[in-house]
């Protein structure tokens, strides 16, 4: 019953994901990254290298390092695409007897599916390490424009890697799945995918239903346009400016160029969220006059000006794709953004103004294809079904405790079904009943939240406060029905209430309550602090009295009178509104109480162990389980 993984086998980077508890999750590579470079090499020692490691050695071993193998998948050696790539790629491309393109690595010929299989094997191994179980089945994505032989080649790659490819799905379909498109109604979707090295636009028609049917109406794009070109524009601009000022071309210094490359990409990424970014590279180079520093502020406006043409270049393919699908922009129901470069606001703006609607974002655009593949894998594995769609509680559930505090038992966004329990106690000596007031909401004080129900548990044997143990349990089933029960541990007496309408709130109401919680945060915290200070003060004064009573004349007279005076001071402070005064007096009392313990140790004849610290027996500090106390009924 192994897991089925979803694989995005990309031109520059590949990713793998799997369904976990109903959610698609990216599996990190053994090097700790979330993506694996689609690079394969054979080292001089004949060792096969895949991913980051292969990329690192590329410069020393260019003729045996294969990247962008996807461009050759299922292609004939004589095809114009291969002819073009032969000029761009540093490794040797040859012709197989059947006319397919092949590559040479370590003096051996490999077919593109074999090379892709090496990448898949690494992803498979990473997935197995992550999941702790063997993986034998996968869903792999391909560009929508891949023809039959390219799809077959991808399938073969999977088989060579020891994976049964259950389904080959189109990348834009995977993206739509990741965005949860078209559950019920029919929709037409444009998927705009601007990755590291390629740009694809796909128009899909989805027929709603179970399962929904995806049809690719048209595709277009530019196989040599992507984020790397954006980086290059920035690098060239910065290097040109530097040359103008200093007369040195840092592009000629490999290390300086490497540093600039990293800084340029970082600045580009930063400019997606802030208005300006600083490129700061001290000691970038030197000449006879001494070291040179590169510092430059790049604004978003400047970046947009630099890459404006590149962004513009993506629009004609969009227009063509629409035309081929015989649709106009007004026919498109949804637009989805895929690929890291779509994080750039100018790209989003261009897409928005062309299609006339706000594009969907939110799912990590680098990972969306792999996540979608994992969802498809989950469907095939029978894992994605309604029965597994777990709900969460939209609001916090809790009960009212001493001073009107809402004590949370089920925090918001807890996945249900859920069960929890906590032990509470009484607030007064001899208290024989407690009221359980069940509240829902984000405010820390119970009266500000919504009351879901209340009941009384009585028949508690009279005891000093803090001694009785009442266990309150919340049980929330998969349908959101809440069962609250309270049981006195001593007598076993129990009361409960079932609340069916706990999730009967509308979306708007829930949103309002969550927002309200946020807007009142500061006030509420202050009030809660005040209540807590009062509760502490009250508890400390009570403990002081009790300790003095219990120990009788074992307490030296001077200590006794000091504690008594300080306890009185706390009670006096509790009558007023000054929270700080309450806190200070409580602190003083707690310190004085410690002297009781100290004094007891000094009496060698003392036989009973003295209560140490400020906590009184039965007090909340003594028992980890007692977190709050009921109000007196």
């Amino acid at each position: 019953m192994g897991k089925i993984i979803g694989i995005d086998l990309g031109t520059t980077n590949s990713g793998v994901a799997v369904m976990e508890a109903g959610e698609p999750t990216i599996i990190p590579s053994s090097e700790g990254g979330r993506l694996t470079p689609s690079v394969v090499a054979v080292s001089k020692q004949g060792e096969r290298l895949v991913g980051t490691v292969a990329k690192r050695q590329a410069v020393t071993n260019p003729e045996n390092t294969i990247f962008s193998i996807k461009r050759l998948m299922g292609r004939k050696y004589s095809s114009p695409e291969v002819k073009r790539d032969t000029e761009l790629l540093p490794y040797k491309i040859t012709e197989a007897p059947n006319g397919d393109a092949k590559v040479v690595m370590g003096d051996k010929e490999f077919s593109p599916p074999e090379v892709s299989a090496f990448i898949l094997q690494k992803l498979k191994a990473d997935a197995e390490a992550y999941l702790g179980e063997p993986v034998t089945q996968a869903v792999i994505t391909v560009p929508a424009y891949f023809n039959d032989s390219q799809r077959q080649a991808t399938k073969d790659a999977g088989r060579i890697a020891g994976l049964e490819v259950l389904r080959i799905i189109n990348e834009p379909t995977a993206s739509s799945l990741a965005y949860g498109m078209a559950k019920e109604k029919d929709e037409k979707i444009a998927v705009y995918d601007l990755g590291g090295g390629t740009f694809d636009i796909s128009i899909l028609e989805i027929e709603g239903g179970d399962p929904p049917v995806y049809e690719v109406l048209s595709t277009n794009g530019d196989t040599h346009l992507g984020g790397d070109d954006f980086d290059q524009e920035v690098i060239d601009y910065v290097a040109d400016e530097f040359k103008k000022e200093q007369g040195i071309d840092i592009r000629e210094d490999r290390m300086a160029l490497q540093r600039l490359k990293e800084a340029a990409e970082k600045a580009k990424v930063e400019l997606s969220t802030v208005g300006q970014a600083e490129i700061n590279l001290p000691f970038i180079t030197a000449d006879a006059s001494g070291p040179k520093h590169l510092t430059m502020t790049l604004t978003r406006a400047k970046l947009e000006q630099l890459v404006g043409d590149l962004v513009e270049k993506t629009i004609p393919p969009c227009r063509q794709a629409l035309e081929d699908a015989k649709l106009s922009t007004s026919d498109i129901d949804e637009v989805i953004l895929v690929g890291g470069q779509t994080r750039m606001p100018a790209v989003q703006e261009a897409v928005k103004s062309f299609f006339g609607r706000e594009p969907h974002k939110g799912v990590n655009p680098d990972e969306v294809v792999a996540l979608g593949a994992a969802i498809q894998a989950g469907v095939l594995g029978g894992e994605v079904k309604d029965v597994l769609l777990l709900d969460v509680t939209p609001l916090t559930l809790g009960i009212e405790t001493l001073g009107g505090v809402a004590t949370a038992l089920v925090p918001r966004n807890t996945t249900i079904p859920y069960h929890t329990s906590q032990i509470f106690s009484t607030a007064a000596d001899g208290q024989t009943s407690v009221e359980v007031h069940v509240v829902q909401g984000e405010r820390p004080m119970a009266p500000d939240n919504k009351t879901l129900g209340r009941f009384i548990l009585d028949g508690i044997p009279p005891a000093p406060r803090g001694v009785p143990q009442v266990e309150v349990s919340f049980d929330l089933d998969a349908n959101g029905i809440l069962n609250v029960s309270a049981q006195d541990k001593a007598t076993g007496r129990e009361q409960h209430i079932t609340i069916t309408a706990s999730s009967g709130l509308s979306e708007d109401e829930i949103k309002r309550m969550v927002d309200e919680g946020k807007s009142h945060e500061a006030d509420d915290r202050k009030r809660k602090e005040e209540i807590e200070a009062r509760n502490h003060g009250d508890q400390a004064a009570y403990s002081a009295d009790k300790t003095l009573r219990d120990l009788g004349d074992k307490v030296p007279a001077d200590v006794r009178s000091d504690v008594e005076a300080k306890a009185a001071a706390v009670r006096e402070a509790l009558k007023g509104q000054d929270v700080e005064l309450i806190q200070r007096k409580t602190q003083e009392l707690t310190e004085a109480m410690q002297r009781i313990g100290a004094a007891m140790y000094e009496q060698p004849e003392a036989t009973t162990p003295p209560p140490g610290g400020g906590a009184a027996p039965g007090g909340p500090e003594d028992e980890g389980t007692v977190e709050g106390e009921f109000r007196e009924v």
Binding site: S43, A58, V59, P62, M255, Q258, R259, A286, P291
Partner: protein, 177 residues
Amino acid sequence: MDEIVQEKPVEERAEGETDELERAEDQAAEYLDQLQRTQAEFANYKKRLEREREEFIGLANAALISKLLPILDDLERALQTVPDNLRSLTWVEGIFLIERRLRMILEQEGLTEIRAVGEQFDPELHHAVVGEETTEQGEGTIIGEMQKGYKLHDKVLRPSMVRVAALPRDKKKEEPE
């Protein structure tokens, strides 16, 4: 979690009832399957979480230290190029001491330098920036370090940026590969 319902023997039941029972049985089997999957997944998840936690404890500082490395690089670059006429100033000496202290603190956290120059190139540890044709060093030997690489405990935080010896082109052709 529900108790398994006691069933009547099949032959005693009417047709419609059989259908219903079959459906219920199918559903029960499906639910059991889902439960088993979920439980297995949860068990594995717990194991993985445990493993990850152990890793994280050792590498809690990795992200921050990675961000500090460029500062260390810059400081190093600055100190490598101190003009000779300033070198004797005690003020400059102070900056050297600051660099040493920063390095010491990071070393105490488990940071170690990756050895590069003179070593055989290893893509697990080094990133080749340039391949340099030379006959003086064996192919694959690191002949220059352009930026230091570091490990935190056993994990490579950042590979060294290096220049690697390559065979000169003309010589390569002669080699019967």
